[in-house]
Symmetry: D2
Subunit: 439 residues, 4 copies
């Protein structure tokens, strides 16, 4: 470290900050596993999900592989076999253990994985002391690793919920209050946005963003309207009761195929018994609350609901422009991971200066946009280039974050993505429509 | 018909034109079946393909169901059971015979299907005499029926080729010259196009277009370049020989999965024996000609080739804008169905005023654009609304038509679409890249 | 040919007989195809079935491969590519065209296959003139070829029926009288057979038998009873109405899995509409006749019915011993292929000297015996050894022949076999039980 | 309990014995789990296998459901939901949790399952004190429950081995000596057995046997020979090196299909690296020892090896008759579970009075016999009747027990059974052949 180039105070400050951020974010992951037994952390309930233990190990592997192996001289791997075992999909790093078999790895034990985490955390802290504020590559990879870790924190909650839902005992992950807010959401209102040329995506040199949010570029929007809040479970129930799952007209062709072959009759985790509906939550099975936003929808279901309602889903450009226009004013207490709600909450009353609610947090919102590269997109060099770009096919973009997203992880330009049939993510639905001609 | 409202001459003229178009296009379908036996017309070689007999019957069903049942008073169905038997995917019309089992229907015989065609053709001609030029709905549905028939003409050739390719005897559909042009294609040149706001899609009241080409709307383009011709088989072979099918780096994640699970090592219909490559054509198996455009690529392969070459696929907006800019000048003799070539041909020398070659005909060109509705898209009313909109998911747009597309069927705004793994359509690849900054 | 060893008259007589048998049996196959179009002969309705055209070609291939190539000097193959194309499963002969794709071979045409038959028939007749009565191997292979051809005749009818049943038009193969006999079958009676040591299987030097019927060997039987006739459709309907297809207790575990995953609710070809049952026959769809023997049962269904009825299926040793005991007396006009009935008929009145009816013809009868080699079984040498032995796994034996079996093809020792879930063969059910202790 | 009917001494003695047997056998199951973590006990590595935790719970469920619910008045279920959760396949008891998802049940925890075991064990001991020696049904069900528990002990070892084998870390279940015996097995010798009528199966009133071993009945045997020991890994390697897995001639048709679709090239757990073979054992991956009996063979492989060797597999009647003839003399220290070897051992030198070795223990031996009911077989009443009978289809019988079979669990009449493709059981191969004519 060159003390001249990096004046003492600033560099040290950055190191302290980096160490603190690293420690906090890493601890947040293990905190998520705290209410779970080693057996809970072992199970993989479907090929798309992973065991909690695997998430804890893989995020550690990420720091070991992309930071310690490159930046920490003399670093000794905790266990050289983990390089293969906990590689998710990085072909450039080497072979991978088959994804659908992650739940078969009873060894290493959860205890060993926690020791692995400690070993790597110690080493990363050493590396931070050596490199932060004097090596841009290091800082960028560290930041990427932390955002990667935060993504897996949300995945842990998704995967735990799915795993518990397969158990006829309906176990709870946490004891949650029935819901935080007692009021009913207001009737749906439409907010109008002008058309025109807008900047979209994350600008260069404006802080961290994933490569898929870049480059910032101009898009052309036509005037449109967004609903001021998410669709509720009560509203979605009306779609079901109107025969939504029995009427092919509302569905994309692939969606209707999925409804028929999978026998879908309601969103994931909904169950009907004697004309009463219940919903499996992170707090076990509960009566359906009509005021709560509907979640665990596939793209097919979100799209079908919108078509039934005579409107449509927003594009991601529309969504981002609307979110950006709100972001300048104070959005009061969004329901992100920090609230501890662990569930979506009924929409608050719109604020006079911030009339769209639930844009940040509560539930990811399906957009009508297929996940595609922005004009001029270039994936990063080497293995890091596999992070996002290669998944840009047959997936749709979701925006806005959910109750499981940490506040430091979400941005208006953030692009989440899932295949149109996926339902285990915390995904809901905000309606959009073309703006009528100006009066 | 009200002779006052429809002055004699004009109405009669329109009727004669409509009758002639109808007769010609209907005959073109049966002419495609002429070289085939009843057995050839029976076979369905995969669930995505249909027997030729089914194509001949379904296109007839389309006129019977959407025109004769509605417009021809007293019309008696040729066989009421055909309503179910030859319905492709119109849920609004009623149930459908399972698509993968179309090849099991030995009855009705080809002879009966041809009689069905005659029966319906006669009735449609009567209906034309009664309605053309005095009923807009009739005229619109007749035109739609004819374009529908032309789509199936190309499907017939695709499906016949696939069916014959499954036969170890390598039968030929037609005896074709080795290739029409003797010259080598020129080295690839790049044509530059400006960015800016452009009109895209088919304008209202500008003649026939499918609903998915509408509405016309403005898009914003960034400066870009297109290759002046299609990628050749020789160029694609270099990709194979460079390990293209063994290197995951070039592929989308889903594409690489497909390469591995399907064991792809070359485009569909290519075969390697003792270091020599041959290609199955509508004229049987032939030695690979390096100068011919490469065809029967999936989106995955087109995309991987482009990535290997350091460039990308064009978006459909870029492609359409480029095609529109060329369409004003005379494009000499595009290789469409009317040439009778029945295969893609080596690129001609670029014309000074029309420097992009092969934009019309030869092969459909994969674009980077997921198939999605245009802003403001509204599907047609009733069953006709199922024509296009419900397929807008997990498919990619192809542009430009092929050697199997009739000249009266193609437009610069025409949007063809296939899933990214489909390979049996006549699909090739034109490269694109971002334009460098202006000098 | 050594005229001394084979005295003129006898040898000539044998040649004439062989030629006549060959010609008759070969013509019987083409006669079966006579009511069918080339399109009918093209279709393969499931992987287990084959197109009629393929049957006609494969039986010809058998004579060409095993007789002409070996015995007829200078024989020129009709088309050398047929060696691969029409090989069913003889690994020793070489590669095979994939079985599930037989329906894709529109070429060679039916016309060509018939010419192939003529070409080979002519050559076989020449070979008969040269070899019959002077070469035991030749005579044995010729006889095997003829029995092979007869097996495929029954397969043709099975496969045609299945193919026609897939067609919603319910086409008929032949116009058949509703049924030949007007009387009701008598109530079921039990015939008792003693236990003891019995000879089972086909003795050496006792005329033709397949290798799986040999060697003859002693078995030990315990006293048992057989029902005097087959179970009728009316009796089987009672099982259905008693909840047979909803009660796991009656079923083997694999059988119940099959009922659930396949959604079975009745035998193949049965259909219920508004409380009336119909059955698809070779004469189209017809009302269920309660007096006709139930057919198109899987082993699972035959076994479940027997368990529901409190009895069991016979073993093949029991069946053969009972049949042999009856065979000495005159069984009046069994319903074999020669009757032309093309369907099972109600049981005739038992004859005082021949009290088991329907043992020969009407329907194959499932036995409780897994298909296994007899003690001392040796498959034939070379490719012929693949005829039977390699299929002795996960199949069950059926006995007795059906209305589709030629009279010259069936013997009491004849062992037919199908997997327990197969239903498209002409298979019914005769009940058995242990004999009570003697009074 | 009526002290008059059950004279003090005898009844008490029986109770003490029953309690001791119960306690010992139940403890043996938990002892098997002792070297495993809760995570190890959670994993289900394939649908055919079950988690160790599930085995521990299901065997407990068996006592609770079939004994406590019926015999122990006032018994309160440990958890009423376990009735569904740990029912394996008893339709008469009610619904079952889907078998392939057993590994998803992280709750109840291993700790809770062990508490469940204690709860039930205590109650069963109370029930023994009340019922043993005065209620035949009770005694019979208790004995069945203990044999059921012993079956699951062997399954635990099979399933643990499979689970560990999926882990690239190659973990060991136990540290085992390389092998107990240092000597080479002797060359294979043939022991001759006479034909004739023999008693087969377990006689009534001769102690415990499963229903499938009954009734005892006469069978007719033809003279035959058995190899004096199991086939070794070295001998099997010769089959591999002779192209055994590349030559269809040796295989049943279904077997060859399996070889091709599964890509089999050696027995399960064998791996070849650089021309050296290793085998995964309960002690981790080890070099192949040519003298050890070959294990983890499917029926297909055992049958193919025998065909390659020019001989065959024994029938179960042959095997049982041979075993019975040996059983009268002292078989020195068979390698059953009590030896603690946890692996098959090289064959000992034959004893002059007991010339077949390895008949008891080491490895289960595939027979040529399809698993079928004995003449006169009647399954037990109620749910217990589902124990064996409904699985008598598409399975083959294995005899003799393995190193994982407790000594008190095995009999010469014992019939184990697996589908012909199954390989994870401890199954090997003894050759048989027809005896030559007497000199």
């Amino acid at each position: 470290m060159n003390a001249l180039q990096h004046p003492h105070g600033l560099a040290l400050d950055k190191q302290i900050q980096a160490t603190r951020a690293f420690t906090n974010i890493r601890q947040a992951s293990t905190a998520l596993a705290a209410p779970l037994s080693a057996e809970d952390c072992q199970v993989q309930s479907m090929p798309d999900a992973s065991p909690v233990k695997w998430h804890l190990a893989h995020t550690t592997w990420f720091f070991e592989t992309f930071i310690l192996e490159r930046f920490l001289q003399g670093y000794r791997a905790f266990d050289p076999q983990f390089r293969l075992l906990f590689n998710s999909y990085y072909n450039s790093v080497g072979e991978q253990y088959p994804r659908p078999q992650r739940g078969l790895l009873s060894r290493p034990s959860l205890e060993t994985v926690l020791a692995y985490r400690n070993h790597v955390d110690e080493a990363v802290r050493t590396a931070i002391a050596q490199h932060t504020a004097c090596d841009e590559d290091f800082d960028a990879l560290l930041e990427l690793g932390l955002h990667h870790e935060q993504q897996h924190q949300e995945l842990i909650l998704m995967d735990v919920k799915h795993m518990l839902s397969c158990n006829p005992l309906h176990p709870a992950y946490a004891a949650l209050p029935l819901r935080a807010a007692a009021h009913q959401p207001e009737p749906l209102q439409w907010q109008t946005f002008d058309g025109g040329r807008y900047q979209m995506g994350h600008p260069a040199h404006a802080g961290f963003a994933f490569d898929n949010e870049r480059p910032a570029h101009e898009v052309l929007l036509h005037p449109y309207q967004l609903a001021h809040r998410l669709v509720t479970q009560g509203e979605y129930l009306a779609f079901i009761e109107a025969g939504g799952y029995r009427t092919p007209d509302y569905w994309l062709s692939l969606g209707w195929d999925t409804v028929c072959t999978q026998g879908w009759r309601a969103p994931l985790y909904w169950q009907q018994t004697d004309d009463a509906w219940s919903v499996f939550t992170l707090s076990g099975r509960r009566d359906l609350d009509p005021d709560t936003p509907v979640s665990h929808l596939s793209y097919f279901e979100a799209d079908a609901y919108a078509r039934w309602a005579g409107v449509r889903l927003p594009t991601e450009a529309e969504w981002e422009q609307a979110a950006a226009s709100q972001d300048n004013v104070l959005q009061p207490s969004p329901n992100l991971f920090e609230t501890g709600a662990l569930q979506p909450l009924p929409a608050p009353r719109p604020d006079p200066t911030c009339r769209l609610t639930q844009m940040k947090g509560d539930l990811w919102e399906w957009t009508a946009s297929a996940y595609a590269p922005y004009p001029g997109f270039r994936p990063g060099p080497g293995a890091i280039g596999e992070y996002n770009g290669k998944f840009m096919c047959n997936q749709y973009v979701l925006r806005g974050g959910s109750f499981a997203t940490p506040a430091s992880h979400i941005r208006p330009s953030y692009r989440n993505f899932f295949p149109p049939q996926a339902r285990w993510q915390f995904a809901g639905l905000r309606l959009a429509r073309d703006a009528s001609a100006p009066n």
